[in-house]
């Protein structure tokens, strides 16, 4: 078989029963892999109304047909489950080396079911799949967990340094163990499948980590054609100014861009321009300040990852990032002035295993509640105005569920409601919205509101490219982008590279070379739309409605940036129409028929 390995691995944590199954051909044809297959399996196998932290939820790790083939930037895997934060289907993705190792081990999907009676970690090394005790790892930070597992594999399995180095590891920190609803899954020294709290799902299953070392191979159908196409792509990437910038600065070039367009989240989205960040508008400044080296994911020629370090003996290790989203949410949005403090916050979140974006949204929410006098100091134990580095302490308390952190770990809606001001939580469907202020670009507001997983920046592309700011067309572009990313996430291609500069036919092209099955751009659009609609059906079955496609009142009512508000109601009508959904946001029978989803639609129509 070309591209795919044709096998899925099913691990029942309750009984410790491990079995492999053949991958249904229909899944490959209609859903490609990654996010598409995850959406299908979750829809088929779990009742969307379940409690996300119950053993009934399933956690899926999914590389795609392009993973491990050397298709540029096909390094990522999707982690999917019902989210404990937004109650939606969620599918964060993550780079690093784990995806390729799962693929080389021979699996297109790894599904975890049930709940282990004791903490365990899963070791997936080719045919040898084991659940190993992890009681001694419980409570360890992300970095320490990786170290401990490597040491164990060295002494127990007799692996040498090369093998230990080639492994991929994903794990949860104390936040995931403590079921913090925005805990992330950390991987390979600081990468994260961050949004939507799947770290808590992993914690609820008593699954501390998953480690994989694969020594098998992946076949490519048209090797010659593939090699030529990759070389041509390299040339294209080399000449592209946007990608040159990505390679040198990663996302560090974005604070300048965001400040210039008045879209940098600042003081809990009260402003779109951060004065403190004026000194970081030149990315060269950040690079000089904290960079250790450029760090690529597996098979990615663009190396947008940056490893960083600050001069502080309390934080001796290097960390990945901070990325722009982290700098904005934990930085300017909380009023922090210095990159060093942002790095400390990033480091804490990484080590404890928390999503930096939602964590930032929680802290800035607490800061605003404090400043407005809704949250008394005695409840926190220390003052917490905007800009206070006491937030570092609070981050620890959230992850460990100490003091007020216990309530904050339940998410923004619960926390803000407890103090009487749910409108101050800047989130969509319970998930904090990311760095870009939606009042700067209406398109962003629409993207956040309609994302299937909650306020997310990774389910549609940023509206910078090819006239996507054009008000007459961005609703149409939003729909197209969402479909495109759904398909790219099924490849699994990194959309950071494949949006904007290299927009277009690459996904279909790589898939055709690798799998030997003809894929077209139009075909990919349909796959993407099918995935998007299936995810929507999952959410509707879970009890969400069109009313949940909303934005915080601060965005729709208070003109904070550029003296304007997002006119969401009007945009939503247009959006639903362009999707072929009815006015309450439910896919119509005709649309579902067109996508081959009429049976699935029966649950909600």
């Amino acid at each position: 078989m070309f591209g795919w390995k044709g096998k899925l691995l099913r691990i029942d944590l309750s009984t410790h029963l491990i079995r492999t199954e053949a991958l249904p051909p229909r899944l490959m044809k209609e859903y490609i892999g990654g996010r598409g297959m995850c959406a299908r399996i979750l829809f088929d196998e779990i009742d969307p109304r379940i409690d996300a932290l119950s053993p009934d939820n399933k956690l899926i790790f999914a590389p795609g047909p392009l993973t491990g083939t050397g298709a540029p930037a096909a390094s990522r895997y999707i982690v999917s489950a019902k989210s404990p934060l937004s109650n939606c289907v969620s599918s964060p993705c993550c780079g690093g080396y784990l995806a390729a190792n799962l693929k080389y081990s021979g699996y297109d999907l790894v599904i975890f079911e049930g709940r282990s009676p004791e903490p365990v970690y899963a070791s997936i090394c080719d045919d040898r799949v084991e659940l190993r005790p992890a009681r001694h790892l419980w409570g360890k930070t992300s970095h320490d967990t990786e170290e401990a597992i490597r040491a164990e594999m060295k002494s127990g399995d007799g692996l040498d340094n090369w093998a230990l180095n080639a492994m991929g590891i994903a794990n949860i920190g104390p936040a995931g163990e403590n079921l913090v609803r925005f805990a992330s899954i950390m991987a390979d020294g600081g990468r994260a499948a961050g949004r939507s709290g799947l770290g808590a799902v992993m914690g609820s299953k008593n699954l501390k980590a998953i480690v994989s070392l694969g020594k098998g191979h992946v076949n490519i159908a048209d090797v010659e054609g593939f090699r030529k196409a990759v070389m041509a792509f390299y040339q294209e990437g080399r000449d592209n100014g946007e990608l040159r910038k990505r390679r040198r600065y990663g996302t560090w070039s974005l604070p300048g861009r965001a400040n210039a367009s008045k879209s940098q989240a600042t003081y809990n989205f009260k402003e779109g321009y951060s004065e403190a960040f004026a000194k970081y508008e030149d990315p060269e400044v950040i690079r000089d300040l904290i960079r250790v080296r450029d760090e690529a994911c597996f098979a990615c020629p663009f190396s947008c990852g940056k490893r960083s370090r600050i001069k502080d003996t309390d934080y001796p290790l290097t960390a990945k990032g901070p990325e722009h989203e982290t700098m904005a949410l934990l930085g300017s949005n909380c009023g922090l002035e210095y990159m060093e403090d942002i790095c400390r916050a990033n480091y804490i979140c990484n080590e404890l295993g928390m999503d930096t974006i939602t964590a930032g949204a929680m802290i800035s929410l607490a800061m605003e509640l404090f400043e407005e006098g809704h949250l008394p100091e005695r409840e926190i134990g220390y003052p917490l105005p905007f800009g206070s580095t006491n937030m570092l302490r609070l981050l620890n308390e959230i992850a460990l569920r100490q003091g007020i952190g216990d309530l904050m770990a339940e998410g923004g809606v619960a926390f803000a409601s407890r103090y009487g001001h749910p409108e101050l939580f800047m989130g969509v469907k319970g998930m904090g919205i990311p760095a870009w202020h939606p009042q700067a670009f209406d398109a962003l507001g629409l993207q956040y509101a309609t994302s299937n997983t909650g306020g997310s920046h990774t389910k549609s592309t940023m509206p910078f490219y090819e006239g996507r700011k054009d008000p007459a067309r961005f609703v149409e572009f939003t729909k197209k982008d969402q479909d495109y990313i759904s398909a790219a996430d099924s490849g699994v291609l990194c959309w950071i590279i494949y949006h904007g500069p290299l927009w277009g036919e690459k996904l279909a092209e790589w898939l055709t070379y690798v799998t030997g099955v003809e894929h077209t751009v139009q075909g990919m659009d349909i796959v993407g739309e099918r995935i998007w609609n299936l995810e929507r059906l999952f959410n509707l079955r879970a009890g969400l409605t069109g009313k949940d496609d909303c934005l915080p009142p601060r965005i729709t009512r208070e003109p904070r940036v550029k003296n304007r508000v997002v006119q969401l109601d009007r945009l939503l009508d247009e959006y639903y129409a362009s999707r072929g959904w009815d006015s309450s946001g439910v896919p119509t029978r005709e649309k579902l028929q067109e996508l081959g989803l009429e049976e699935e639609g029966a649950y909600v129509l």
Partner: protein
């Protein structure tokens, strides 16, 4: 001719491993590659497979790279009995870099986007 390695430019993407195995075996499997990349925190080390040695050495000196201690087995180019790299995973047959034939046209150099690998004349 030889392949010059600028390890500080290496990003750890391992495209060299991928193309090496693809060029030599027509499938993708880094374990069948004649070049491997060791990914460290401070830097990455691309190491190209050299000649096969029959015995494991027992005199491992301390190897320092940029002030960081590195396992001597990692910077050693030999394919040897105690190392997991540079041998066919199924058969154990040792592997060695052949510069992708004559005249030398190493594919790893071509696929190295950050230019950590370059083909140079012997000096």
């Amino acid at each position: 001719m030889r392949i010059k390695i600028d390890y500080k430019a290496c990003t750890g993407c391992k495209q060299c491993e991928i193309i090496c195995s693809l060029a030599h075996t027509n499938t993708v499997n880094p374990w069948r590659s004649r070049i491997r990349v060791y990914v460290g925190e401070e830097f990455c080390l691309p190491v190209i497979a050299g000649p096969y040695t029959e015995a494991a050495c027992n005199s491992k000196g301390i190897t320092m790279v940029d002030g960081v201690e590195v396992d001597a087995c990692v910077v050693c180019r030999a394919s040897c009995p105690v190392k997991s790299v540079y041998k066919e995973p199924d058969t154990g047959i040792p592997l060695k870099c052949d510069f992708c034939g004559e005249p030398p046209n190493p594919q790893c150099v071509q696929w190295c986007a950050p230019n950590a690998l370059t083909l140079v004349e012997d000096t």
